[in-house]
């Protein structure tokens, strides 16, 4: 924790670390909340299944009135079964598109966090070596300075690679999320149209049947 909050020497990296800490946490929470939604959709689908089955078990042919009531229960059972399929489809859409996208985003942010942490550790090592070199006795100073140069070289390489990776990541993560958002919207739109049509057909059939 102390290393993670160590002040950076470069404003670019300090800002990036601050943003990353914030977004990594938020994208993880968003992913978890979406998974909660999916789980509840699945539980609701299960409840619809139970209700549909219970309606199906109401079939009774004791007399004409019981037969009429049974037919009504069977019709409602069909409707509830359609609601169940609707919920299952919506849950599956959520999971396979936006759920996947948010999970990927969360993992990307965690990977960036680890990369920045490794750089921060190298920065701390460099600062420790610099302090050691300043305090070194004359006979050891040359060795310490050589070591300091080596650590500085490593740190500069890490920073250069990290900067390139971060810029590439900023471009690609926008595209990745964009594609997942479009995919999510399209499948949910198609599902809504499909079930609007199905429910309308059920409604039309019921109105015709019950007006006779």
């Amino acid at each position: 924790m102390r290393k993670e909050s160590h002040k950076d020497v470069d404003n670019f990296f300090q800002n990036e670390r601050n943003k990353n800490t914030n977004i990594a946490a938020l994208s993880k929470v968003a992913t978890e909340k979406l998974l909660d939604v999916v789980m509840t959709e699945q539980k609701l689908a299960l409840a619809c299944g139970h209700f549909s089955t219970s309606l199906h078990l109401c079939v009774n042919q004791d007399d004409a009135a019981a037969v009429a009531f049974s037919k009504v229960c069977l019709k409602l059972s069909d409707v509830i079964e359609a609601v169940k399929r609707n919920l299952e489809k919506v849950a599956s859409n959520n999971l396979s598109t936006l759920g996947l996208g948010l999970d990927l985003e969360s993992r990307y942010q965690e990977a960036e966090k680890e990369m920045l942490f490794r750089r921060t550790c190298k920065l701390i090592e460099l600062e420790t070596v610099k302090k050691g070199t300043e305090k070194a006795k004359a006979n050891k100073r040359e060795v310490m300075e050589a070591f300091q140069k080596a650590v500085e070289k490593e740190f500069n390489l890490i920073s250069s690679v990290a900067k390139q990776e971060i810029e590439r990541f900023h471009c690609s993560h926008v595209n990745v999320l964009k594609n997942f958002l479009i995919g999510w919207c399209e499948v949910q739109l198609n599902t809504a149209k499909e079930f609007a049509e199905l429910y309308s057909q059920h409604l039309e059939a019921c109105r015709n049947m019950y007006s006779e």
Partner: protein
Amino acid sequence: EKQQQFENLDVQLRKLHASVESLVFNRKELSVNTASFAKSAAMLGNSEDHTALSRALSQLAEVEEKIDQLHQDQACADFYLISELLGDYVRLITAGVFDQRMKTWAKCQDAQVMLQRKREAEAKLQHANKPDKLQQAKDEIRERVFALAVKPNAGFSDLRVFFSSQKDRVKDFRVVIIKYLESLVHTQQQLIKYWEAFLPEAKAIS
């Protein structure tokens, strides 16, 4: 036989009622979780630097808030159309059967006690050698014995009235199915509007 039919119907309706209560509960939980996800999406949108992506995520949050409202409306439809109807029938049967049974049982008990007293009075009159009053007592005992045989069946006359209103029950359920389907169609049409409005926002991310 009618009593058995009644009890079967009672069991069926209770199972249905329990199932639909579970449905209502889960729908409300879905609404809560959808609202929670909407908030988290809004916070993610606010933290995003890329302007178009930030706007799309904020729009996503708004869509989810609207979907939450649809879930709440659908939960109301589940409850007020189906759950309450089934609950009313369960309460009706419970009140009718239980109340009628209690009354009938109490009447039977009273009749038994009265019959016993009359038999005791008849025995006393036999010893007292009063033929007129003895005959009157025998006639009364015969009437009471006959009434005890009929009363338990007559006590269920109110339940026969319930059975004769089964046509109303079928009509109630038909109306409910149509209204429920109308609510489902409305929900899907609203969802289509929301997704069609969101799609250009997602495509506008560059």
